[in-house]
């Protein structure tokens, strides 16, 4: 609680009153970057990347399916990371970060499942199949929803923080299961076309479109999570003087309506 604010400058931003304005300044830049990258990514996806030799045009779902699936896993890992930091260091802001990440992670998870279903129908002949990749990805959605429900259901914020953090950490085991499911089991879902260990098995322009969309998804997540965590900070810190001052500034900005 009363940690001194001295020390390395980056740690200064672990204090909510320093992080709050920083988040407010950074978010619009990430949002702008996300918008520009999305436009560039869509252009690559629809006007530069060629028609796929075997799948035709329907493969263009890949440009959101893969970035969304990556993001849904990555966001969960970041959530688990902040949960661990919160449990070990007892930093209030860490728990808020993991709670601000969850809805966006869940959103990407829904997008990955939805686009996968719409891709599956014309290529596999079915919207859904209980194979290891699809099932573990569905479990990820339930972990997100469970985390959100649990942290909102518990009245005492400190207990909610800890309970949520434990779910986030336990659920993190599922993420490598999703990622490696296509290797470990015989799945209908295809193996990874892009990995760190071998050259990607797709056309360069296709790969470029996918990567640009993935970076756009990153920038979007940063923007929306920073925007979401700000009111959460105000709520938690409402007894402090700096929040009082911030609220008065807000009231002025709103023209005294409040």
């Amino acid at each position: 609680m009363s940690r001194p604010d001295r020390g390395p400058s980056i740690l200064r931003f672990a204090a909510p009153q320093n992080f709050y304005p920083l988040a407010g300044r950074l978010a619009p830049w990430f949002a702008g970057a996300a918008a520009l990258l999305t436009l560039a990514g869509l252009w690559l996806s629809f006007f530069v990347a060629p028609t796929d030799a075997t799948q035709g045009e329907v493969y263009r779902v890949i440009f959101i399916h893969v970035p969304a699936a990556w993001m849904s896993m990555f966001v969960y890992l970041v959530m688990a990371f902040w949960s661990a930091v919160g449990l070990v260091m007892n930093t209030r802001l860490s728990f808020l970060m993991s709670q601000a990440l969850a809805p966006t992670g869940a959103m990407f998870c829904v997008v990955a499942l939805w686009t996968g279903a719409l891709w599956g129908k014309p290529t596999w002949g079915t919207y859904w199949v209980w194979d290891a990749r699809l099932t573990s990805q569905a479990l990820l959605l339930f972990l997100y929803l469970g985390f959100i429900a649990l942290t909102r259901a518990i009245e005492d914020p400190r207990r909610a923080d800890r309970a949520g953090a434990i779910i986030a950490l336990v659920g993190a085991v599922n993420v490598p299961v999703i990622y490696f499911s296509v290797k470990w089991w015989n799945t209908l879902h295809q193996g990874a076309s892009v990995s760190l260990t071998k050259a990607p098995s797709m056309a360069t322009t296709m790969l470029a479109g996918m990567l640009v969309m993935a970076v756009a998804a990153w920038a979007y997540t940063l923007a929306v999570v920073l925007w979401r965590v700000r009111p959460m900070i105000l709520e938690r810190e409402r007894h402090t003087e700096w929040v009082g001052a911030e609220l008065m500034r807000e009231a002025l900005r709103q023209g005294g309506r409040a």
């Binding site: 028609t51 779902v61 008065m248």
Partner: protein, 76 residues
Amino acid sequence: MQWESWSAFWNMGGAGFFVWGSYGLTFALVALELVLVFQRRKDTVNRLLRWRKAVGRNGSGVGAGKESPGESRAIP
């Protein structure tokens, strides 16, 4: 350029439903999330402002005196 015409573009080689269904839901969810995030900010700020006023009136310290309800209403 991949497309002979706009109608060929929208048709997506017959896969229009699957491709546009994917992009459509994704961007709808993104728009919804942004609306909810800004809505929540507004709600939180208004609720906390009301709360501070109430607390100030009870005289429990926070904002009592110079931030009295009367004065904050006078802010243009």
